[in-house]
């Protein structure tokens, strides 16, 4: 089966190009019958693939652009680095695991269920070791949550730098997790009254240890084994990761091997040197755990230009908040002068990606399109300038500002800042 158009199809395409010039595409009448309709195509006559061709299927080849991408210059080593989810090409809210972003500090390790051990120690009545089989015997829970890297959009603090929402907002994924509640595991060991923090670390060389206040640990933190219906992918922590709803992705410790209970925070490397946020006076915020309300229009966007001409246009995007449910998303097409509420499509779950749509008629002139999320606390997603006025330019993390796309008259779309 070839991708190459047949001669008759080429002639048809040339014909539509001429006929469509200067017209709204949907209003153009066919000048000649479409051979894709009038001629019997091979797929309407011969066999397709048998059911034994792909025991575990991959996307069709035509979707080869829907993949993770990395930006080499962002980090000094590809094993302590980041790649980006192709959010410009996705719809709905569930991220396919195979293209869901990765962030490692010493690479994606391979850890079998047989070799897996989880230790709980510290200020507990009974330090414990669990095998993976043990974990499968605890009562299970399900939660859907976004995992957003604290650094998502961090390269954009100083200006407009990367071209495409995959690169500027794509350190994120959203999955349906099944696992056991951390509070149930802690109950097995018995947390002592002096225990105020848990310290969670991974089995990898970087360990990625992070301190979590006991209140959060006993609330909604999950020790997850399944994501989007199947085992975690290797690169996402197989066989066990922490799910920390609403909180910065760094705390979603992968390949988790130990949960230590302490009377104080460990103040590990990942919560002192990193994941602390410089402020204008030279001091820094620490323990900025929650990811604030945020949104982005995923199409049109720099990797999703408008090629269909003027007329009906679907504006689609994602909104999310670590402080609860998204209650509204407003869209502006004039640089923020006028705003109109978009539709929330599907459910707006707490601390989960939420899809919005805004159906409009594009007159073919240039636009500055923006989205602005609101969450159930009443928080309204700020502009980048409003954040900079408080935080300056060197925060590194937690850039949840409004994104502006400049839609040109030719349908190409640019990442810009506007004044």
């Amino acid at each position: 089966m070839t991708d190459e158009p047949t001669p008759s199809r080429r002639a048809f395409l040339a014909g539509t190009a001429a006929a469509g010039a200067g017209l709204v595409a949907s209003a153009a009448a066919a000048q000649t019958a479409d051979p894709l309709i009038t001629e019997v195509q091979p797929w309407a006559s011969a066999f397709g693939d048998p059911v034994d061709a792909a025991p575990y299927g991959m996307p069709i080849s035509f979707e080869s652009h829907v993949v993770r991408r990395n930006v080499e210059w962002l980090t000094e080593s590809p094993v302590s680095s980041i790649n980006f989810t192709p959010i410009h090409a996705l719809e709905g809210t569930i991220t396919p695991q195979g293209c869901a972003f990765e962030r490692h500090h010493s690479g994606a390790i391979e850890l079998s269920k047989t070799d897996y051990r989880l230790m709980i120690n510290g200020l507990v009545d009974k330090p414990l070791v669990f095998t993976f089989e043990d974990l499968l015997r605890f009562p299970r829970h399900i939660t859907t949550a976004f995992c957003e890297c604290a650094a998502n959009g961090g390269m954009e603090w100083g200006g407009a730098q990367l071209e495409g929402c995959q690169f500027t907002q794509g350190m994120i994924h959203n999955m349906e997790y099944t696992g056991v509640m951390l509070r149930d595991l802690l109950a097995e060991a018995g947390v002592q009254t002096a225990g105020k923090w848990v310290y969670v670390e991974g089995a990898d060389a970087s360990s990625n240890g992070r301190s979590i206040p006991l209140e959060k640990a006993l609330d909604d933190v999950m020790v997850a084994f399944f994501a989007n219906g199947e085992a975690l992918r290797k690169e996402h922590g197989y066989p066990v990761r922490l799910v920390v709803p609403g909180w910065e992705g760094n705390m979603w410790v992968k390949w988790v091997r130990r949960i230590g209970v302490y009377d104080q925070a460990v103040e590990s490397r990942e919560e002192t040197s990193k994941y602390t946020d410089m402020m204008p006076d030279g001091r820094a915020r620490k323990w900025t755990w929650v990811m604030d309300a945020k949104s982005v229009i995923t199409s049109p966007s720099p990797q999703a230009p408008i090629r269909h001409g003027a007329g009906p246009l679907v504006v689609t995007g994602l909104a999310w908040s670590g402080n609860g449910r998204i209650t509204r998303v407003d869209v502006s097409t004039d640089g923020g002068a006028t705003w109109t509420p978009a539709r929330i499509s599907g459910e707006a779950r707490s601390k989960a990606l939420t899809r919005f749509h805004y159906d409009m008629t594009w007159d073919g002139s240039e636009m500055f399109i923006l989205s602005r999320a609101m969450d159930e606390t009443g928080y309204v997603q700020p502009t980048k300038q409003a954040l900079r006025d408080i935080r300056g330019l060197n925060n590194v993390y937690h850039n949840n500002s409004i994104q502006t796309w400049w839609v040109r008259a030719d349908g190409e779309v640019e990442n810009v800042e506007i004044a």
């Binding site: 652009h65 709980i120 730098q161 509070r183 002192t272 602390t276 001091r283 820094a284 006028t338 700020p382």
Partner: protein, 207 residues
């Protein structure tokens, strides 16, 4: 949210197992193993294990992390955040090096190696003299220069009230938008063969 009653799953962790995996060191010194190391030994251990990335003087080679210097730069346009200029606790240095360095060969340093490297990093940052000996007993006497440089998340006080007003819906701009920054001017995004941003959606129908 009440925890469930214990199910009797798992088995007691043995002391050797806890010692093997719980090597965390807290700011008050909790978790420090017995041992010691001096600057001169640390210089040698650092030269053998660390300098190929971090430089002979912990100044960083190429784009590898800089571990020393940057003092007084935290309000500069481009701050240099190092152990000496930025890190609040010495415990983090010991803990992180012991557990996760050298990069690619982690957990190969003994406790004494780690004390020595930590002493050398203090010296590289101008915090101790070249005859300094760091031990588990004097460890917590060291106060890092930026120990008071951090405060817990205050967004609930400094941002949430300001960002929780009912937003403007109409006539929200006084002037037409003016483009001040364009990513295309920087041109550092990976590209498809046609020069478009990598991953640009393919054309469905040629125009």
């Amino acid at each position: 949210l009440a925890a469930a009653a214990p199910l009797g799953l798992g088995r007691p962790a043995l002391p050797d197992e806890i010692d093997a995996w719980d090597v965390a060191v807290l700011p008050d010194g909790t978790g420090l193993p017995e041992g010691s190391g001096d600057v001169e030994t640390g210089d040698q251990v650092f030269y053998d294990n660390c300098a190929s990335c971090h430089g002979d003087f912990a100044e960083g080679l190429d784009s590898w992390p800089v571990l020393a210097g940057g003092t007084g730069t935290l309000t500069d346009p481009r701050p240099v955040k190092t152990i000496g200029s930025y890190w609040p606790h010495l415990s983090t240095v010991f803990d992180y090096v012991h557990r996760s360095m050298p990069f690619g060969g982690a957990q190969t340093l003994t406790a004494d190696d780690t004390y020595a490297i930590t002493a050398f990093l203090l010296y590289s940052n101008g915090i101790v003299e070249d005859d300094f000996v760091l031990t588990h007993e004097n460890f917590t006497e060291i106060t890092m220069p930026n120990a008071d440089g951090f405060y817990p998340d205050d967004r609930a006080a400094t941002e949430y009230p300001a960002f929780s007003a009912e937003p403007c819906m109409e006539n929200c701009r006084s002037a037409a938008p003016e483009v001040t920054k364009r990513a295309v001017d920087i041109n550092v995004t990976p590209e498809d063969p046609d020069g478009k941003p990598a991953g640009t959606l393919p054309v469905i129908i040629a125009q």
